[in-house]
Amino acid sequence: MTMPDTSLSDTTATSRTDRSATPLLRVRDLSVRFGAVTAVSSVSFDVGKGEVFGVVGESGAGKSATARAIIGLLPPTARLGGSVLYKGEELVGASKARLRKVRGPEIGYVFQDALTALDPVRTIGAQLAEVLAVHRRMPARQALEVAADLLSELKINDPKRTLNAYPHQLSGGMRQRAVIAAALIADPEIIIADEVTSALDVTVQRKVLDLLLGVCSARGAGVIMITHDLGVVAQTCDRVAVLYGGIVAEEADVIGLFDAPRHPYTGALLRSMPRMGESGAFVPIPGSAIQVFGTLNTCPFADRCERAQPRCREALPAETRTPGGSYRCINPLEGMA
């Protein structure tokens, strides 16, 4: 946990600590635009091998756009900028053929809504085996065995029956496990979990999360946990990036973030959520999430921030490094530390 960062290109990086010499995935200054709308202005983070990295934010903060940009899964109208390095290889602007080889065996993607993320007219088995047929040229019978093993690893009692079932015949939790299996079956090194539990009943959320993380850590795969739920972050993540208005407002290890948030947005988020042992009303964040058009040249949170100063609206605050991460604020919170 204390090896020095080898990043040279990043001018703001000082003596940053990192988990490994070369992170598995390095996102730098990633931007995504759809015409005039800027979904992501500038997002940077690293994910190490076996690490669980949280990306948290309100809807519209650019979480899903960031996640999809990593594997190039955006509509052709999207304009990408910045850099996504996977094991040192640039994925932004990579050829379609190369991206196809990355998707699945290198980076797996777990979709949010398990009902719509599975093909309704084919069995679970056919869909899982297909992934292995594409990437490993594995014959169907053998692929189905691998799939059955993976399903039992995901605590599905009767994998053979599940493989023969169609998505509509399964319960929500089962379907979500099938979707997780589809993302994991080609043994990726990173899993992007896009709001995996949001569509599930609260009773099964925790179970599905535990299964996902259990299987990932058994395989040493890193996880990018995309969620709007700080509870999920607290339970599962090692480090976390708080996204707002298409920028990383704050990045920190989970304990640091919950104990001593630096960015006022993080602080406001924490205050708006129920915490154990506290009573009284939660404090909602005034106003609603921002939509960015064109180039972002102000702090996106300024309009809703109680600590805002005139300077906040003059330029996008630069990244300030902290021992455990970074934040973008010129008037950060200090008190809680």
Binding site: R100, R103, G104, G108, F111, A117, P120, V121, Y166, H168
Partner: protein
């Protein structure tokens, strides 16, 4: 499943009953009657007695409702009667001669429609809102809106008269003959290895099939395009891409998902196809069911018209039933069941 079939059989009986009622009384209300046409009224001789005898022999002198119930009883015993005009030939024999021709023509038309419609619809849906899409949609609109009788005549003018690549009418060059096996000319020619005759039949069928095909082709394009578009924006399509599937494989899965809906539409269009043959076969003097029907109507050959209409109706209903069953097979979410409510 059994419940479904029984339920549908019940509906079928009701429809068929309605059709017998309509066709029977329509024919009687229509001006002109068969006996008058045969006797060419106004001749010098007094034919009153002969005429009355003829009418009695055909049962046309009895009250209408009696005639209807006799007809209904015959139909229920699958007795479709004999032609009044053509020397009393049994209607079923005439149908047996004409039906295979119409079936072959319809299948050919269906194939032409699919061969054109599938690529056009895929191109249109994948390149939505581009020139390709507009072209495809315009093509579909033209296909749907062209009146088939006019299109048939135009095709004859272009490809049979000006550039004579296809024959004008009929089924087979007169110098050729086909040994009868099933009654369907192309199938028989192929079965007996008579390639020259098979080629001739194919050439004869091409213009009518093309005319029929373009009409339904337009509908297929529209249906397939819209169901592809519906599938295209589903999450699981992106999920395929996220698993590293090639664009080709993704399109294949899109088609698989769009197929059930399209199959149903094809089944429902079988009715349109058959009614299309009535016009087209007349334009091309192709001796199928449509040709038979029009000739029988002109001669007021009541039993033939009634028999052909009832049989055509039964075929359309059967095709719709098939479409539903195929839909159930293609889409695992559909459960065939009878009665109201759950589908």
């Amino acid at each position: 499943m059994l419940n479904f079939i029984l339920h549908r059989a019940g509906q079928t009986l009701i429809v068929l009953f309605g059709v017998t009622l309509i066709i029977f009384f329509m024919l009687r209300v229509m001006p002109g009657d068969p006996v008058a046409l045969m006797f060419a009224e106004g001749d010098d001789e007094d034919i009153g007695a002969a005429r009355a005898e003829f009418e009695r022999a055909l049962g046309l002198d009895r009250p209408l409702y009696v005639q209807y119930f006799v007809f209904l009883g015959d139909i229920l015993r699958l007795n479709f009667g004999n032609s009044i005009v053509r020397g009393g030939e049994p209607v079923l024999d005439m149908v047996a001669r004409a039906l295979p021709l119409t079936i072959e023509l319809s299948i050919y038309a269906l194939l032409i429609a699919l061969v054109i419609a599938v690529p056009v619809a895929i191109l249109s849906a994948l390149k939505q809102n581009t020139v390709w899409d507009r072209g495809g949609t315009a093509f579909a609109l033209i296909g749907v809106s062209l009146p088939s009788f006019w299109q048939g005549i135009m095709l004859v003018m272009f490809f049979a008269v000006w550039i004579p690549i296809f024959p004008v009418s009929g089924v087979l060059d007169t110098r050729l003959s086909i040994t009868r096996v099933t009654g369907a000319p192309f199938t028989d020619a192929v079965l007996t290895g008579n390639w020259e005759a098979a080629w001739s039949v194919l050439r004869h069928m091409t213009l009518p099939a093309l005319t029929l095909g373009t009409g339904i082709c337009g509908q297929f394009v529209r249906v397939l395009r819209s169901s592809l578009l519906e599938v295209k924006h589903q999450d699981f399509i992106d999920a395929f891409r996220a698993r590293g599937l090639s664009e080709r494989a993704v399109v294949r899965h899109m088609l698989h998902n769009a197929m059930p809906t399209t199959a149903v539409i094809i089944g429902l269009r079988i009715g349109a196809l058959l009614s299309g043959t009535i016009v087209i076969e007349t334009v091309f003097a192709y001796p199928g069911m449509g040709y038979l029907l029009i000739q029988a109507i002109n001669a007021r050959d009541f039993p033939v018209v009634q028999g052909v209409v009832v049989l055509l109706t039964a075929m359309v209903i059967a095709a719709n039933l098939m479409a539903d069953i195929i839909h159930g097979m293609l889409d695992p979410r559909v459960k065939l069941s009878g009665g109201r409510g759950n589908k």
